[in-house]
Amino acid sequence: MSLRLQPVRVETGSGDEDGRLVFRDDALIALLVRLSDNHDADSGKWFLEAGFGCVAQERNPLFEDLEQAQAWFATR
């Protein structure tokens, strides 16, 4: 099982555009978006914009960096 992150530009309707498609093996499991400077203390963190299947959450989490996000995916 391997995780792969692919850069993507996301049209969120806000300044948050820098995204990563997250693949586990060949399957898309999530979309992460880096929060822009408009989010005060959370600026720069990575937001689970969408999670599919076993990474779906009722309130999507924030990660300090991509390493922390990948560690979280590895536990799901």
Binding site: T12, G13, S14, D16, N38, D42, F47, E58, R59, N60
Partner: protein
């Protein structure tokens, strides 16, 4: 906007929104809120599974009903603004099935069930108004379910802000287009079933469209008709009758 009542009691102001009251009725309602306590912000007035303490009446500040999951996720399902009461028949319950917390410091009164029962028996107009307020609470919950289930992010916030404007105007705590909103983005998220990130983005979008503006805790609605139109806000569920049918 015509002021409905000059009573300093938010409960009287609210109940007069449902129909006219006599001087005696007004004084009965005013006396319900004489034994008060002040509770700090971000504290519990009522906890789930505890025995009910009495009927809660909020006189100042803002509180909310909520339920929590074991993982800490919280859904806020009602706001209590001055003049609002908790469940009238709470005395029938052994244990509370939800909690009530405070957004801001609140001045509240606890009304004994037998005291309220006696008032309802002896003052039919007060009884009618109190029953109306319960129907409105139930109708508001239905409206909030629709909000969370059938509206997108900015519409949910637009609807909430439109509703609060009207409810706070009734009790004399909002101007034509602004009021104090002592609620964080995380609390708005728990109210509208969204993440705090989506709340922040939606607030930015509402500002970008020139619909709202925050100055500290004061929310100004810059274009009330446009905000209401965005939310498809239809105030019929608040049952304010002719007084505020706009």
């Amino acid at each position: 906007m015509t002021q409905i009542s000059l009573s300093p009691s938010p409960l009287v102001r609210k109940m007069e929104g449902f129909g006219s009251l006599s001087e005696v009725d007004r004084s009965v309602l005013e006396n319900l809120g004489t034994s008060t306590e002040t509770v700090p912000a971000h504290s519990d007035l009522v906890r789930e599974d505890e025995r009910p303490r009495g009927i809660l009446l909020v006189l100042e500040g803002m509180a909310f009903r909520y339920k929590m999951r074991a993982n800490g996720s919280r859904q806020i399902m009602a706001y209590l603004v001055p003049g609002d009461m908790g469940d009238l028949d709470v005395g029938l319950l052994d244990r509370m099935d939800h909690g009530i917390g405070t957004f801001s410091a609140c001045k509240v009164a606890w009304i004994r069930s037998d005291a309220l029962a006696s008032i309802r028996e002896n003052h039919p107009e007060v009884a009618r108004a109190i029953r109306m307020s319960t129907l409105v609470d139930e109708a508001t919950l239905r409206e909030w379910l629709l909000n969370v289930g059938c509206r997108v992010a900015i519409e949910r916030l637009a609807h909430l802000f439109s509703e609060l404007l009207l409810r706070l105007q009734v009790v004399g705590l909002a101007s034509e287009n602004s009021y104090t909103l002592p609620i964080s983005q995380g609390e708005l998220a728990d109210t509208t079933g969204m993440s705090a990130v989506h709340v922040n983005r939606s607030l930015m979008e509402l500002r970008r469209r020139g619909l709202i503006q925050f100055s500290g805790k004061t929310l100004s609605i810059l274009d009330v008709p446009a905000l209401k139109a965005l939310a498809e806000f239809k105030p019929n569920y608040l049952h304010l009758g002719e007084r505020r049918a706009a």
